[in-house]
C-alpha cells in the first residue's frame, strides 16, 4: 500500500514535469477555464438578481453548493485523465502495456496524468466557496470543518468512480460513450442547485442510483443547518461522504470485471 502510494507520487511528479514543458499552454488553458467558469457563475448570480431565490435558497446558499461541487470535481477531473483517455488506449492496444507490468491497472491509469490545468476550475470553486462561507455567517465548528473536507474528498471519489465506470464500458463497446458525460459534467451542473428543485424521478435517480446528493447537498444541510424537504434521515448528512467512498470501491470492483472480460475476449 505505501509502496503503491510512493509509485503514485512518482507518477504525479513526472506528470507535472511533462506538463511544465508546455508552460504557456498550461497557463492559458487554466486561465481560460477560470474565465469561463467565472462568467458562468455570474450568469447564475444574474438569475438570482432577477428571481431573488430558488425555492427558498438564496444566492450565497447556492454558491456554497456550487463551490463544493466544483472543488470536488476539479480534483476528480485532474486525477482521472487516464480513465478519460481509456477508450483510445483500448483501441490502440496501449492498454496491453499496462497488463504487462506487475501493478494493478487502476493504479497505473490513475498515475497516467494529473491534469494541472483543472486548477482554473479549482480556483474558481474556492473563490465562490469562500465568498459563500463569508456571506452566510456560518457557525463553524470542528465537526463542520471536518465535514467540509471529507465532503470534498467524498465528492472527488464519487466522480472518479463515475469516470471509472465510464471507462469500464469501453471494454464492451469501442465507441467512447459520450453519453456518460451526462453523469459527470451533468452531475456537476445538477448539483450546483439544491436537489429538491428537480422533478421527483430525477431527484431519486441522483440520490439512490448515483448518490450525487451525498456530495454536497446533504453535507451542506448539516453545515447550513437547514431542514430537508426530501426528508432523508439527518444522520445521512454526516455520513454522506462515506457513501461516496463506497461508491468508488464498487466502481473499482466493476472495473475488475471489465479487465477480466478484456483478458478473456481480447477485444
Amino acid at each position: 500500500m505505501t509502496n503503491a502510494l510512493r509509485l503514485y507520487m512518482h507518477y504525479l511528479g513526472q506528470s507535472i514535469r511533462s506538463q511544465m514543458q508546455y508552460r504557456a499552454s498550461f497557463i492559458m488553458l487554466s486561465f481560460g477555464q477560470l474565465l469561463i467558469t467565472g462568467i458562468e457563475f455570474l450568469a447564475i448570480a444574474s438569475l438570482f438578481a432577477r428571481f431573488k431565490h430558488i425555492q427558498g435558497w438564496t444566492l450565497p446558499e447556492v454558491a456554497f453548493l456550487y463551490g463544493l461541487i466544483n472543488i470536488s470535481f476539479a480534483f476528480a477531473d485532474a486525477a482521472s485523465r487516464g480513465f478519460d483517455m481509456f477508450g483510445t488506449m483500448v483501441k490502440s492496444g496501449d492498454f496491453d502495456r499496462l497488463l504487462l507490468r506487475p501493478r494493478s491497472t487502476a493504479l497505473q491509469l490513475a498515475g497516467y496524468e494529473l491534469t494541472l490545468r483543472r486548477i482554473g476550475r479549482l480556483i474558481q470553486g474556492l473563490i465562490v466557496f469562500s465568498w459563500a462561507s463569508y456571506t452566510l455567517d456560518i457557525a463553524w465548528s470542528v465537526p463542520k470543518i471536518y465535514l467540509v473536507f471529507i465532503a470534498i474528498f467524498g465528492g472527488a471519489c464519487l466522480f472518479i468512480g463515475l469516470m471509472i465506470i465510464q471507462a469500464t464500458i469501453a471494454f464492451w463497446t469501442t465507441e467512447s460513450l459520450e453519453l456518460m458525460n451526462t453523469m459527470t459534467y451533468g452531475g456537476v451542473e445538477t448539483a450546483q442547485y439544491p436537489l429538491p428543485i428537480y422533478r421527483i424521478w430525477f431527484r431519486k435517480f441522483f440520490t439512490y442510483i448515483i448518490p450525487l446528493a451525498c456530495v454536497n447537498y446533504l453535507p451542506s444541510l448539516a453545515i447550513l443547518e437547514r431542514g430537508d424537504p426530501m426528508g432523508l434521515p439527518v444522520i445521512l448528512q454526516w455520513v454522506a461522504p462515506l457513501i461516496c467512498i463506497i461508491f468508488l470501491i464498487v466502481a473499482l470492483q466493476i472495473w475488475k470485471i471489465g479487465v477480466r472480460h478484456y483478458r478473456s475476449t481480447g477485444s
Partner: protein, 276 residues
C-alpha cells in the same frame, strides 16, 4: 473577358460546394457520436428546464421572458448547440498544421479562406442533422417545447438562422486560421470560442444578464448566433424587425470574413517566411 471571369468564378463556387458537400457527408457518418450527442444535450436541456421552472415557481415578479418562452429557448439551444464552436477548430486542419502539411494547402488554385470556410459551414451543420430533429420531437412531445406561433415568425427565424450558420462558420474559420500561430493563436482561439459560448445565449437567455450588461451584449456579434434567431422563433421579436436585424447580421458576417481574410494573409506570409 467578363464572360471568362464569370465562368471561372462559377467554377470556383462549384468547387467550394463540392468541398462543403464532401465534408458534410463525411461528418454525417459519425452517427454513434450524433446519437450520444443528442442524449447528452437532451439531458442538459432537461436540467436547465427544471432549474428555470423552479425559479419561476419562486417568484411573481415580471421577467424579461415568460416561463414557456424560456423553456422553448432552452430546447432550441440544445437542438442547435452545434452552432457554437466550443470544441475548437477543424481537427483535420489542426493535424495539417501540426504535421506541416498545411503548406500544400497553398498550392491549390482556390482561395484558401473560402476553401476552409466551406468546410467550416459543413462542420457547423452536419452534426446537427441527427440532433436537432429528435430534439424537436422529444422536447415538443414531452417537455413543452413550442412551435413558432405563425408563418411570418417562422420565416423570420429561418432567415436569421441562415445567417447565424454563416456567422458561426466565419468564427470557426477564425479558429482554424488562429492555428497558424501555435502558442498565441491557441490562446486567442480559446478566448474566441469562450466568448462565443458565454455570450451567444447558450448558458442563459441573454436578456437575463444584468441590465447594465445588455448594451455590451448588443454590440457583440455572438447574440446573432443563437439569441436573436431564437427570439424570432418565439415571436419575442416581431417578424418585421428582421429588416432591422438582417443588416446587422450581414455587416457582422462581412466583417468577420474580411478579418479572417486579412489574418489568413498574414499567417500565410509568416508560414512562407518560416519555410513551412
Amino acid at each position: 473577358m467578363p464572360k471568362i471571369a464569370n465562368h471561372t468564378s462559377s467554377l470556383a463556387i462549384k468547387s467550394y460546394i463540392a468541398v462543403f458537400s464532401a465534408r458534410f457527408r463525411t461528418l454525417l457518418q459519425y452517427r454513434a457520436a450524433a446519437f450520444a450527442g443528442f442524449g447528452t444535450q437532451f439531458f442538459w436541456g432537461l436540467i436547465r428546464v427544471m432549474i428555470f421552472e423552479a425559479f419561476y415557481r419562486s417568484t411573481t415578479a415580471p421577467q424579461p421572458m415568460t416561463a414557456d418562452e424560456v423553456i422553448t429557448y432552452i430546447w432550441l439551444g440544445q437542438a442547435f448547440l452545434v452552432l457554437i464552436p466550443y470544441q475548437g477548430a477543424d481537427p483535420d486542419i489542426r493535424a495539417m498544421v501540426r504535421s506541416g502539411n498545411v503548406v500544400y494547402e497553398l498550392v491549390r488554385p482556390t482561395n484558401l479562406y473560402f476553401f476552409w470556410y466551406s468546410r467550416a459551414i459543413a462542420q457547423r451543420t452536419a452534426p446537427g442533422v441527427f440532433r436537432a430533429l429528435p430534439m424537436f420531437i422529444m422536447a415538443g412531445l414531452f417537455f413543452n417545447m413550442q412551435m413558432p406561433p405563425n408563418i411570418p415568425t417562422a420565416c423570420a427565424w429561418l432567415v436569421s438562422m441562415l445567417f447565424a450558420v454563416l456567422i458561426s462558420a466565419a468564427i470557426t474559420n477564425l479558429l482554424n486560421i488562429s492555428l497558424l500561430w501555435t502558442i498565441s493563436g491557441e490562446g486567442l482561439g480559446l478566448l474566441l470560442s469562450s466568448l462565443t459560448w458565454l455570450f451567444s445565449g447558450i448558458i442563459i437567455p441573454l436578456l437575463f444578464f444584468p441590465d447594465w450588461a445588455q448594451a455590451t451584449l448588443n454590440i457583440l456579434p455572438f447574440r446573432y448566433i443563437l439569441d436573436i434567431p431564437f427570439r424570432f422563433y418565439l415571436g419575442h421579436i416581431p417578424p418585421e424587425e428582421i429588416w432591422y436585424h438582417l443588416p446587422f447580421q450581414i455587416t457582422y458576417l462581412i466583417a468577420l470574413i474580411t478579418a479572417g481574410h486579412l489574418i489568413l494573409t498574414l499567417g500565410i506570409r509568416r508560414l512562407v517566411a518560416q519555410g513551412g
